[in-house]
Amino acid sequence: TPLWPAAPLRSWLIPVSSPLCASRGESVHVFGFEIPEEEFLAGFDPDVTVRLLYQDGFTDPLRWTGEAGGFGAEEFTALGVAGRLARGPAGPATVVLDSLSWLLLRQPLPAVCQTLGRIPRAAASAGLRVTRILALLHEDLHPPGLVETLRSLAQAVVGVRPAPEGMGSGEDAPRLASMLQRKGTGKVLTKEEYFTVLAGFTPKALGEPTGSVPRDEDADPHSTVDPTANLTFNLRLSDTERRARDGMPLPFHFSAQK
């Protein structure tokens, strides 16, 4: 059962997405640093686990024992990652990083981002095709500037937080996912949705927020901003003003007064 306050992202995201990738015939390479392999693979169907290739970065991150098969922090370079990918089957691959926060605590952000950008190229030169890279991030561990920078680099961002009180019932606490996706044409799509995870790691959408949750800026959801309010000039004249304006002689007109 997931412990949602401690690890809200990992506990469901990988279990949910891995079967999807595996069903498409892709291999999923998981670089795990935070939990041991057994715990990670628990609960998956066998046909999913056969497609999951786990790179163990948890047991011996500093490479003290030097056992084969482990993955150390300093190996996280484009070539290092591509080398691990090459050990798996050919074909499209998804790379999962659990978690990026762990890596960011050990390597500076620019280096990590450059490595992430270079992984597809390095893999391509080894004959592999990386279709996507999925990185988990514990938002609360990092300064907001770093999180914003990562959001601006990613093509799609999914944020998960617990749903407000009163939503749903039962033992599976629902969560709120806010998704942002940048399409190639320059469009940006945002969506918010409540969901929960059923047994067998299948997600279930519970609908979108209706706006009954009070927002800060506008208490009344039906009022729109009126642009003609709060102007520094008059848009309409009162009667006296209109008469005064009509009675005014214009400078270039001949009139009796002049």
Binding site: T77, P108, L109, P110, A111, C113, Q114, T115, G117, R118, R121, P143, G145, L146, E148, T149, S152, L153, R182, G186, V188, T190, E217, T224, V225, P227, T228, L231, L235
Partner: protein, 374 residues
């Protein structure tokens, strides 16, 4: 009244004997796509959108800043200039493939059947001119500026530039991951390494291709348009976007200072997009503004509360002009209009004065024509 004299000659009857020496740069007027400015003797070139040779502060998702970036490069292609494209995220070849296609304006087409239209319009005018009857026999003349005085073209954003036009363009590239792979001993490219390499690359191109006059007689003079995408972002190895206490807070400003020197001594212009909304330390953007000729900020309405404001329903964002160029001049910044809004229709990107946005809202039929800002 004070008289300025150059090279002898006494001022007589109050007139000054000051003679403006014809600057050597007037010979440069023959470069395609440029014209000399009468105010300060500098060459002006079009950026694809009028007068935006500058640092662009990116909007939140970099959509519109990339669009203006592409306009700048597209204008270079149409004018036959040379291009230098530098990026850390996108391959420069891919950037060039996605440039908007030029819209050859109707003046060209009209030249073909000009006589036809002149006859037609004359017939129309004979019926309508009651008061101005004296003028109805004159042929209808197109009130368009002379070809030489007008620089700049229009582009169709929905179409990509043709490969033939691209192939005829000479361009140079700088792609950070490529540079890093050329030197595999450097595991990570920190900002000093990235910026230094870029400067060296630009300097080499300027020298080799003769933009600084190093080969004065050999070649026809041309302009180098430099486009640098997302400078200061994490992918350049700089950490000013992730922390407000970066490792080397001056690396970006040092780069701009050296770049400015390179641009001044060569026939080149540069557009740089900077993710200003991510830079944590506000002093850095102040320094960048000081070091640049023009600084324009873009604010898109995506995701902000202005998106639902009916006033802005036809507009996609605002343009904040933080600085306009003051080259070779002593005057201060006197531009009145600093508040601009932009909209991207199917084909055209137009910029309008922000005050007219309210007029559009109140009387849309009357203000249906948008007023392009030159």
């Amino acid at each position: 009244m004070a008289a300025l004299a150059t090279g002898g000659g006494m001022p007589s009857d109050g007139a000054t004997s000051f003679q403006r020496k014809v600057p050597a740069s007037s010979r440069l007027a023959t470069i395609a796509g440029t014209r000399p400015s009468v105010r300060h003797g500098q060459l002006l070139l079009s950026s694809g959108l009028p007068s935006l040779d500058c640092v662009l502060e990116e909007d939140k998702y970099s959509i519109y800043s990339n669009l203006l970036f592409k306009y700048f490069l597209a204008e270079g292609i149409v004018c036959g200039h040379n291009l230098f494209v530098a990026s850390a995220k996108e391959d420069p070849a891919d950037i060039l493939k996605e440039l908007p296609a030029p819209l050859f304006d109707d003046a060209h087409k009209n030249q073909v059947n000009e006589k036809e239209t002149a006859i037609k319009s004359k017939q129309e005018s004979q019926e309508s001119m009651k008061i101005a009857w004296r003028y109805q026999n004159l042929p209808r003349i197109e009130v368009s500026p002379a070809a030489s005085a007008r620089i700049g073209h229009y582009y169709d954003v929905s179409k990509m530039v043709s490969p033939e036009l691209l192939q005829s363009t000479k361009w140079h590239r700088f792609f950070v991951p490529e540079e890093m792979s050329l030197h595999p001993e450097i595991k990570t490219c920190n900002m000093t390494c990235g910026y230094t390499r870029l400067l060296q690359s630009i300097q080499r191109i300027i020298y080799q291709e003769g933009f600084d006059g190093s080969y004065p007689q050999k070649k026809q003079k041309n302009i180098l348009r430099i486009g640098i995408q997302s400078l200061g972002s994490v992918l350049w190895g700089d950490d000013i976007c992730c922390t407000d206490n970066p490792e080397d807070i001056y690396s970006l400003t040092k780069f701009l200072y050296v770049l400015r020197g390179l641009l001044r001594m060569s026939l080149s212009a540069c557009i740089i997009t900077v993710p200003a909304h991510l830079i944590q330390n506000k002093a850095i953007m102040e320094r960048v503004t000081n070091l640049s000729d023009t600084v324009v900020g873009l604010e898109s309405f995506i995701g902000s509360e202005r998106e639902t404001n009916p006033l802005y329903k036809d507009y996609q964002g605002l343009i904040h002009v933080h600085k306009i160029p003051r080259l070779n001049s002593l005057i201060c910044d006197v531009s009145g209009t600093k508040d601009l809004a932009f909209r991207l229709k199917r084909k055209l990107f137009t910029i309008e004065v922000r005050e007219t946005v309210l007029f559009h809202y109140l009387e849309p039929e009357r203000w249906s024509k948008s007023y392009h800002l030159v």
